[in-house]
Assembly symmetry: C2
DNA sequence: CAAATTTATTAAACAGTGTTCAATTATCAA
DNA sequence: TTGATAATTGAACACTGTTTAATAAATTTG
């Protein structure tokens, strides 16, 4: 089966070549403005051949989405070494926002595109749920230390994620320009600091 | 000039007919999936003629965006009768979130599409800035009552808007499904309640 | 080795998109 | 009625995602 294996590897190599080209162009031009022909041209490939390796445009896109999620999760995992749960929670928000700043296009692909696939067994879903559960248990740990008392952990988690996402979402769709005389970085950093200040008083 | 006036009115009538058709289809199918031919067909018009009344597709879209903004602002204006600034602030958030729930498509058009025009004199920009200033002065009023002390009003405003927008943004892109066993309404209502609880303790 | 079969690739075609433009009709002023 | 202006049209252009029949390459089988 050595030949079949090599075949398999060659196919995966092509798979990766396509994905690399797609990543480059998707992150440059966004989902809608990237065409299958664009991706094919990038690697001197025929547009039709893409459909031999991927079902359609969304399947390519979803693989990149997955990439983004694991990239973000890896950055968050580093914080597992932070012992104090509240410190870890605060740092998680900072990492999250920094990720959005440094990977604006990934963030757009990951969180700002309408979710079409509703299959809950899909990999991206399980990753998202994992992230939410991680967040929620962090908050429960905080509660055991006396913070966020009499708050429902699930809804509180949703709120914290919403607040962080809101900051990033405004940034990623250029809706920060209406806040005059402030740079994106100032708004996001100090805005998050305000949120942290609220958390600290609770 | 009576004839010229009538002419003008007839033109504006066509302008409105197009806008009505566009609103219907944009809100049904979203920006990308709505074609100029779709809009033209809806009113038995030729696609080319649309370009006599509007520069391009984005110009039609932006008029609808403006509609959405004034619709939201009108709903918020009602709260001017609420004397206590903190009560008004809390109610504003509720109205904002309710607007997103009841006008999901408008909300997507208004806040979830990349901002291309950066002209700060554009109507939508002035409306947005008006809304932000309104929000900010409300928060300053709260501060005069002793709330949110030692917080920078501008950044605090950004944070509050972000938090509200975050809730709506997750909802509008169907990213709430990862929070299992909770409906959208439960998440948004109780999530916002958590945020209010934070505000109350500050 | 040759034939048959599987695998991979291609170009052409289909139905759709936003937009432009010359030709055409309708409307009004002189 | 003529000339000019305003409004409308359909065809065309260059693009889009996707399908498919034909082709080429590689592998398996006889």
């Amino acid at each position: 089966m050595s030949i079949a294996e090599r075949k398999q590897e060659e196919k995966q190599e092509m798979h990766q070549r396509i994905l690399n080209a797609a990543r480059k162009i998707f992150l440059e031009k966004g989902y809608e403005k990237t065409s299958m022909r664009n991706i094919a041209n990038e690697i001197n490939y025929s547009p039709g051949s893409l459909y031999f390796h991927f079902k359609d445009k969304t399947e390519i896109f979803q693989e990149l989405q997955k990439e983004g999620f694991t990239l973000l999760l890896n950055q968050l995992k580093v914080l597992n070494s932070v012992a104090d749960p509240f410190e870890r929670l605060k740092a998680s928000g900072r990492v999250f926002i920094q990720f959005a700043q440094e990977n604006k296009d990934y963030y757009n692909l990951m969180f700002m595109v309408e979710e079409t696939v509703k299959d809950p067994t899909e990999t991206r879903f399980t990753i998202a749920q994992e992230a939410i559960n991680h967040m929620c248990s962090m908050i429960r740990d905080c509660q055991q230390q006396g913070k966020f008392k009499e708050m429902d952990a699930d809804y509180f988690t949703f709120m914290v994620i919403s607040a962080m996402h809101g900051i990033c979402a405004l940034f990623c769709k250029d809706r920060t320009t209406s806040f005059i005389n402030k740079t994106n970085e100032e708004l996001m950093e100090n805005g998050y600091a305000c949120f942290v200040a609220l958390l600290e008083k609770s």
